[in-house]
Symmetry: none
């Protein structure tokens, strides 16, 4: 009965594991922007002394940060903070091959709901400067599309500008991480024929609604846009799955 309930993690518990505590502290330093992107953080020997832990333990935390794309260590040079857009760009190896359809579906859906809510909030709360920034991201995207360049970055920037305009740090960061998790699929989506121009049109509709301070319209425009993304990513996954199956069949024949 009560044992089947999921254990609620008590908040003020004291970390027995040093490396984990160090990891949390490093994360909060990055998240709170005490260390900003590009910053060089103190050398390992200084840090472990500051934290009062052994260098080996600190390195476990440091390495973990590096593996998830928050830090970048270079021998003989130092350790540097990565830009937010690279967080979680690392485990794309697993994101790419390993995640099955259900897990991907949950992430895409969670992103849809959260970005929809953020779009609605942005329409209500954005400052004029923030709305301008959204418009600029849209303009950059249009420009790059005309140049035939990749619009992945400007696509992400557009969504992030909206998230910033919503004035909710928790949701902003959460949705950014989700977006990074599925970055590779967004990239593939944009490589499909005619998708780029459609994406641009949909972005324009979202921007227009936010500019008009029409919260409901912004929500609906974002929902439609991301619903399209969900469908397209599903197509990609399905086509990849069928390709894999046909390879397997032909391999079995030989």
């Amino acid at each position: 009965m009560s044992t089947s309930r999921i254990a609620p993690a008590m908040a003020p518990i004291e970390k027995t594991r040093v490396a984990e505590a160090a990891f949390d502290q490093l994360i909060s330093f990055v998240v709170k922007s005490h260390w900003r992107a590009g910053d060089k953080i103190p050398p390992e020997r200084d840090l472990c002394q500051q934290l009062g832990i052994a260098r080996t333990s600190l390195r476990e935390a440091l390495k973990a940060m590096e593996m998830i794309g928050m830090l970048d260590s270079r021998v003989g040079d130092g350790t540097f903070v990565c830009p937010r857009s690279e967080f979680l760009a690392r485990p794309l190896l697993w994101t790419f091959t390993g995640m099955d359809h259900e897990e991907l579906r949950d992430i895409l859906e969670a992103r849809l709901f959260m970005e929809r809510d953020l779009a609605g909030l942005a329409a209500e709360r954005a400052t004029e400067e923030q709305i301008d920034k959204i418009g600029e991201a849209l303009q950059v995207m249009r420009q790059r599309l005309g140049d035939g360049a990749s619009i992945l970055e400007s696509d992400m920037d557009f969504h992030q500008a909206i998230a910033e305009a919503a004035h909710n740090d928790v949701m902003r960061m959460a949705v950014q991480l989700l977006r990074n998790l599925i970055r590779r699929w967004i990239e593939r989506k944009l490589q499909m024929p005619d998708v780029c121009v459609k994406t641009l049109d949909q972005h324009a509709a979202i921007y227009k609604a936010i500019r008009k301070r029409d919260s409901a319209a912004a929500r609906e425009a974002m929902r439609k846009h991301l619903q399209d993304t969900v469908s397209l990513v599903n197509q990609i996954v399905q086509s990849r799955a069928s390709r894999r199956n046909s390879r397997r069949r032909s391999a079995a024949r030989s």
Copy 2:
């Protein structure tokens, strides 16, 4: 035990960053389901021998795996593979742990939006058993309220039952984390006069809407309920702040 079935020996690490290579290999072992959720993986000393690296280097990779929620190590026991839902929501935890209490407002709002979406999904997707479970949580809460016992646990159980019925692991884990973060404020809220019965009524309304498969009504009922919670927590925060100020004033006088 389970790890001894068909042990595809891991290839020794070549050169370049050892820990990173080990990390990739560990991930691929999980991704390719050589190690499945719940499996116990070989002890560190065996693994580092298989990989031909030092234990400290292996531990850096192992710790990184643990931080992203793919593995769970227990002293004296071993290291085990976590279920997928663990590490799908783990990145969200990082964004939340970095947050101070300053972001209480954002957390409450994020929770409101996400639980509202989950309630809507639950009305659409819940199985009959899951709806019954929500009803049971409601019943337990009513019972405990009659007994004069604390309803905090059953309150949380009710919300979690709805989250489970929404069939989205990412959102379920995310909202559970948020709920645990503000657990103490929920507790204080429930100690306010007349709040318990009001909470019970609101829960009943949510349950009724989900039972009727009325998604819009479920969303609205949940929104109203959590909007109330936001207001009440704000009252608590304000009263505590003013108490602190008055204490400070009286302390200054003495």
